[in-house]
């Protein structure tokens, strides 16, 4: 019997071209036993929500360094919810100014992980959050 694996989509919305952080997080989650779908650079919110739908992921990680987070993140959240994926946990990594953090959390972002975050913390918190959601089911 195959066990239930946590599936995570790691995506980079917007136009900045640096995906090192996204890859580090993808690798860390893989090493923690998750299945990580990596979609690469320059994704639109439509592309991300479509990939999340087709892959039936539990978690979406968005890496943004461009400063366009206040525009892009809420769009992704809205489209994912519109697709019926109401349980999907969405976290953000990258450069997010202190002043914008609360706003994004209020819009439904689970956590924001800035530079220097211990990747073990990321995988631990994700694991707990997925567990909490699936228990509600």
């Amino acid at each position: 019997m195959t066990e239930k694996k946590i599936r995570v989509l790691i995506a980079k919305p917007g136009l900045d071209g640096h995906d090192r952080g996204a890859k580090v997080v993808a690798r860390a989650l893989r090493d923690d036993g998750m299945e990580v779908i990596y979609t690469g650079l320059r994704q639109t919110p439509e592309m991300i929500s479509e990939a999340a739908l087709q892959e039936d992921v539990d978690v979406i990680g968005l890496s943004i360094l461009s400063g366009a987070h206040n525009a892009l993140v809420p769009q992704v959240i809205r489209k994912v919810r519109e697709n019926g994926q109401t349980d999907v946990i969405i976290f953000v990594g990258g450069i997010i100014p202190e002043a914008d953090i609360q706003g994004l959390l209020d819009k439904g972002v689970f956590r924001i992980y800035g530079p220097g975050t211990d990747t073990h913390l990321v995988s631990k918190e994700i694991r707990e959050a997925v567990k909490a959601v699936s228990q509600v089911d």
């Binding site: 694996k5 893989r30 090493d31 299945e35 690469g40 592309m47 039936d56």
Partner: protein
């Protein structure tokens, strides 16, 4: 089941959920497969295999786009399998990176899956997932295997048409006559054909194929058919000519070169399969394999459910101490289960 109804009506959300249930082998997933089974058997399943980095994902991307250009606008599903780490059990599924162009077309559905410990180039649930897509009305199901070496040949049990992707410079003519992956090809593709050595690779592969078909080489070419679409669907081929000589094509998938011809050959192969009765043969074989695997799985599960853990552990200790051989241990365990009360067969 509401989810199944939604899936049949075209809900992508329902399809995606059912795919997960089936992949995870949950009771709901098994039930879904049961309910969907009557609707299967229509899709043309195409396997794409080859070494890591040969351009399988890029080829799938190009191929899917080309298939969609057809007048009938066939719906295309893609199952992309990537390896699971043997250490962490996790996986990076990166095939979508090469298929971003396909993301906005609602006639296409791409699902990545991890091999989850299976070694034949697929996951144990890949076949089941292809059934779900089949029942959901997809005309083509493209199955991209894990980057394959020489013996990951499970795809041949599943696909109607197997495409083996090679690249220039991977080896000499000895590599190409080894058993295994090249043998399973219905169509061979030398991708990245703009690289040096493409023509040489193509020659090696052609030579290998012709070697296998030597008795018929004189008539080779005779059976090759015009594109299926220009043909009368009911036209049949005589027994004597029922031979498929795998074509060897050159492509540059990233630039969309040679893809039209590849689609033509796929449709040729489909027509060949249908008109020679091999389509049905393949179905029979695939279904037989499914049942055999199910039986093995069910018996194993029932066996361990019935066997008390301490009895198993006792035999293991005796085994480690070299007091019994593995064969004797198996015999003892089987006898133990037979002696204890007759089990009820679970469904």
């Amino acid at each position: 089941m509401a989810l199944i109804n939604d899936l049949r009506k075209g809900s992508r959300f329902a399809l995606s959920r059912v795919l997960s249930q089936v992949e995870n082998n949950t009771p709901a997933g098994l039930q879904a497969l049961d309910e969907l089974f009557p609707f299967t058997g229509k899709a043309h399943k195409i396997g794409i295999t080859g070494p890591p980095g040969s351009g399988k994902s890029t080829l799938v991307n190009a191929l899917t786009k080309q298939l969609r250009l057809h007048d009938r606008e066939p719906r295309v599903a893609v199952i992309a399998v990537d390896p699971t780490s043997p250490f962490s059990g996790g996986a990076i599924l990166g095939d979508r990176v090469r298929m971003l162009e396909l993301q906005n077309d609602r006639g296409i559905f791409i699902r990545s899956m991890a091999s989850r410990g299976a070694l034949g180039g697929l996951s144990s649930q890949t076949e089941a997932l292809s059934q779900v897509f089949d029942a959901a009305g997809f005309d083509f199901v493209l199955i991209e295997t894990v980057g394959a070496g020489q013996s990951e040949v499970d795809i041949v049990n599943l696909a109607h048409t197997t495409i083996v992707v090679d690249v220039p410079g991977l080896g000499d003519d000895i590599q190409s006559i080894k058993a295994g992956i090249l043998e399973i090809a219905d169509i061979l593709v030398v991708n990245k054909a703009d690289r040096p050595g493409a023509d040489q690779s193509r020659r090696y592969l052609k030579a290998m194929i012709e070697m296998g078909f030597r008795p018929l080489a004189s008539s080779a070419g005779k059976h090759r058919m015009a594109p299926a679409l220009q043909k009368d669907e009911t036209e049949t081929i005589g027994e004597q000519e029922a031979l498929w000589l795998p074509p060897v094509l050159k492509t540059i998938a990233s630039q969309f070169e040679g893809i039209e011809q590849l689609v033509t050959e796929i449709l040729n192969h489909q027509h060949f399969h249908k008109s020679t009765g091999r389509w049905k043969q393949k179905e029979t074989w695939t279904l037989r394999e499914i049942v055999r695997k199910r039986i093995a799985g069910t018996l194993e599960r029932d066996f361990f459910q019935q066997l008390p853990a301490e009895v198993f552990e006792a035999q293991m200790e005796a085994l480690i101490a070299r007091k019994v051989s593995p064969t004797t241990a198996v015999k003892n365990l089987l006898t133990y289960n037979q002696k204890s009360s007759k089990p009820q067969l679970s469904e």
